[in-house]
Symmetry: C2
């Protein structure tokens, strides 16, 4: 009896723990938090809330926009979106396609859509609609999921550069 | 004796496992594998080895190039690089800046540099040099680290679109 009790105890002790090779799967919690954060973007962009957008990032976040240098830190990210916010009628919508999480970190792949309000004419050189893909690494800090690294690009082809000027006629 | 032996057994069983809340840190192994894979890019691109480049990706990898649609799967990625490889004199170099790993997955942030061999004139519309940033999610499959999601963009500003044609003179 004592031996079998001992085996049961050992078995219970082993059953109570999980192998270290399996990181905790926090995908469901991360996905829910990421979906909730993403759902705020259309309102925050269309109402020009650069402060609230910056608060979705960690203090030392790295934002990698296309066709410009990397932006380092929440303060610079806030300044970036303050410039975006000077363009009236912009709405940016984000949609997570996949989220892979492990413990307090997650990587999200998704798609973004940039639209102008009806009746708004985009500034010269900007497309009337734009969309593309992104990859974001999120971290959980004090119970909140925040963006730590963020990169995106557009599906639209590059604008055609100006053709060389024709030779002047004599 | 039997009880103490039992306690020792239970204690050993518990000591053999680690708390599930701590994912195994595979960062060092992942970083080494990623650095080794990255080091092959200059040779593989300058010698037009699209097959070997594609083998750095998982079978169902998602590649997200700038200014074109997402590329799905290793076969399509191979075809993408076969097109790149038709441009003679291209060298693409990659450098990991940070790698965050947990168990069999890792996310890498890095920088890429695209150069042309001396004496090669880039095709019309392509810059003489280009560089930018990337984010890649890697997974370990059968002991090999492979790229599963890959996105990048350029630091270069967009080409200026052609100015509207001036009104014809009468």
């Amino acid at each position: 009896m004592r031996l079998s009790a001992c085996l049961v105890t050992a078995a219970l002790a082993l059953a109570a723990c999980k192998p270290a090779a399996t990181p905790p799967d926090t995908s469901a919690a991360a996905k829910a938090a990421i979906d909730a954060a993403n759902a705020t973007w259309p309102r925050l962009t269309s109402t020009a809330h650069a402060d609230s957008i910056a608060d979705l990032y960690t203090a030392d976040a790295v934002m990698m926009p296309p066709n410009m240098p990397t932006v380092h830190g929440r303060d610079s990210i806030r300044a970036f979106f303050a410039v975006i916010n000077t363009m009236a009628g912009v709405t940016l919508a984000l949609r997570a396609e996949s989220v892979w999480a492990s413990g307090p970190a997650a990587t999200e792949m998704g798609r973004w859509t940039w639209t102008w309000a009806a009746g708004v004419t985009p500034p010269p050189g900007m497309p009337t609609a734009d969309s593309g893909k992104y990859l974001v690494r999120w971290v959980e800090e004090n119970g909140r999921w925040l963006m730590a690294q963020d990169i995106w690009n557009s599906d639209l082809p590059l604008p055609t550069p100006p053709a060389p000027a024709p030779a002047a006629r004599r």
